[in-house]
């Protein structure tokens, strides 16, 4: 399975918030085990979708300075309802506070406008070279891959002239939306 728990980033305000979506399809093979008679998106994958949305917000905000962005803490993760095949989970993350390497976020997931999961997360970011200087080239490789993936995920649809914008959208979005620090 590809470990991509988001299908599209719908909205992003650097330093502030992100909205992304994940559609669930019966074709996802882990559903055969979760559960055989009641296929639903695993709770930890709802958490992973929210973590990945948070990670993209962090990466875009800092212009991909760090290769590794992972979950450090999850608090008060409450599951109110399931996500069934054919449904779309809309994930939102908002930055609460930022420190040098850690970001606190408030996150939630909803289906058809109804919230079915909420949580507070702490994400941590680092480069492999921080611990192993020889791994700086791996950091560069990961960052390149993350930039490419971001361009696939985040494709604002049209400009005012009605033409499709792509390419360096991420940098122009960053420039326009970067909140003063």
């Amino acid at each position: 399975m590809r470990f991509k728990l988001l299908d599209r980033i719908v909205d992003l305000k650097a330093g502030v918030s992100i909205t992304a979506v994940k559609g669930l399809t019966l074709a996802e093979d882990y559903l055969a085990d979760h559960f055989p008679l009641f296929p639903v998106l695993p709770g930890v994958f709802m958490l992973e979708a929210m973590s990945q949305a948070s990670a993209w917000l962090i990466r875009a905000t800092e212009d991909f300075q760090h290769s590794i962005v992972v979950l450090r803490e999850a608090r008060n993760v409450k599951y109110a309802d399931f996500v069934a095949p054919g449904q779309m989970l809309t994930v939102q993350a908002e930055i609460v506070t930022e420190a040098e390497r850690e970001t606190k976020l408030r996150v939630q997931g909803a289906v058809d406008g109804k919230t079915n999961v909420t949580a507070r997360l702490v994400m941590v970011r680092y480069n492999l070279a921080d611990g192993w200087p020889s791994r700086a080239s791996t950091d560069a490789h990961i960052i390149r891959q993350m930039r490419e993936q971001f361009h696939v995920l985040y494709r604002p649809c049209t400009s005012r002239s009605g033409h499709y914008e792509n390419g360096s959208v991420a940098s122009s979005v960053l420039a326009a939306n970067r909140a003063p620090r």
Partner: protein
């Protein structure tokens, strides 16, 4: 607040901070569990477990959060708790001040009535 009640309040506050992820200063005696502190039904289970462990008490199902009365067709009509239902609630929850709820007995507003002080009163009533 007398010393023992102060101690109970501090411990209840710790339980609510751990269960609900709110800040210490949000947990005031007047704060409502649902409206102010954002408690949901899964949180009520969490709170019950923590209170039992902290105070070494047993909280029978429905004694603190009477979901069975609030979902019983005998006691609820058109989304409002009947006078009979209110009597049951009063018997079940002598620690809670139900006067406000009586004036607007909508099931949906019940959770907004229960305060931190009600919880403290309940715990005190269970202590030896």
């Amino acid at each position: 607040m007398p010393a023992q009640q102060e101690e109970v309040f501090e411990k209840v506050r710790t339980c609510l901070v751990d269960a609900l992820g709110v800040d210490d200063d949000e947990v005031t005696p007047e704060a409502t569990m649902v409206g102010d502190l954002g408690a949901e039904s899964i949180d009520f289970l969490d709170i019950v477990f923590r209170l039992e462990k902290t105070f070494n008490i047993k909280i029978p199902r429905g004694e603190l959060f009477p979901e069975d009365i609030l979902s019983n067709a005998q006691y609820v009509q058109d989304g409002k708790v009947t006078p009979e239902g209110i009597e049951q609630l009063k018997k079940r929850m002598p620690f809670a001040d139900l006067t406000k709820f009586e004036s607007d007995p909508r099931v949906t507003s019940f959770g907004n009535m229960l305060t931190v002080q009600d919880l403290v009163n309940y715990v005190q009533s269970k202590l030896p």
